[in-house]
Subunit: 156 residues, 2 copies
Amino acid sequence: MLWYNDNQSHLYIHMKKEEKVLREHLARNNLRLTRQRETILDAFLSIESHVSAEELYRETVKKDPAIGLATIYRTINLLCRCGLAQERDFGDGETRYEHLYNHKHHDHLICTSCGNIAEFENTDIEKLQAKVAKNHGFETHSHRLELYGICETCKQ
Amino acid sequence: MLWYNDNQSHLYIHMKKEEKVLREHLARNNLRLTRQRETILDAFLSIESHVSAEELYRETVKKDPAIGLATIYRTINLLCRCGLAQERDFGDGETRYEHLYNHKHHDHLICTSCGNIAEFENTDIEKLQAKVAKNHGFETHSHRLELYGICETCKQ
DNA sequence: GTGGATGCAAACGATTTGCAAGCAT
DNA sequence: ATGCTTGCAAATCGTTTGCATCCAC
């Protein structure tokens, strides 16, 4: 879905919602929509999991071998700034990025054996967190909850 | 409390529990109790908060200016291995270490304005976490829960 | 045409490691 | 005496940055 040479593209016909979000952020900040940025966004959206910059690089290079790793870093940070991606650090030395747009908040179950990351959400825990914060006069704007252990598959 | 030149030290008289834990770990693994390791342990225990390697280094150097940063890293990892310290990564690029021995499990409220880190514990949340894990057939061996936001002091 | 974006290589900061010399056992 | 530890400097790894060139607007 590359529309950048299409004169009709300003009509946003058949355009992914994420692409629209990116275009609007770029326009608002006087930034350019480049071939690389479209390619990286497509690659990012095609991976429905928690990607490292290196993994995103390997995926992007399949579509455009000339792309540089620095551009991946610059662009994934851009995607974070416009609310399409979110940084997640699971403490293994590599920053990971996950989809944020149109995805509801969730927490993670991380298998320390196979590295698999499962997601869950639990509103009761969220409520208790809000209560804890309130008791401390603390104004929460984000949180992270991760359970580390052995997943069902690895236990067998 | 430096006992390394004291012939009576093997009697463990007046010795901190943490020092005993360290000595036993060293003996078990055929490792040596050096002047540097004692100094670093003392410095670590003297700081009742979440220390980075750099901060621990600055504190240790006050007592022994000849100590190297590499030794700090090697020793704090040793303290983690014997259960006296625990790594904590708050996502600001620096690994932090906190006391583990004789400290009950707790989670963190992190102020993104002043950087202050408060601790809390909540058994109801822990119970819900256990329930989530059970539903996924997941065997948890550790977890992390952090709330990021603005602390009471900074709100004013 | 202008100013933002790219690719490359060099710079960076936290952490680790190789090595010769030192020291606990 | 043996071999674990140290300090130092160099290496590593993920990430960022400077710069000349390129390209979207």
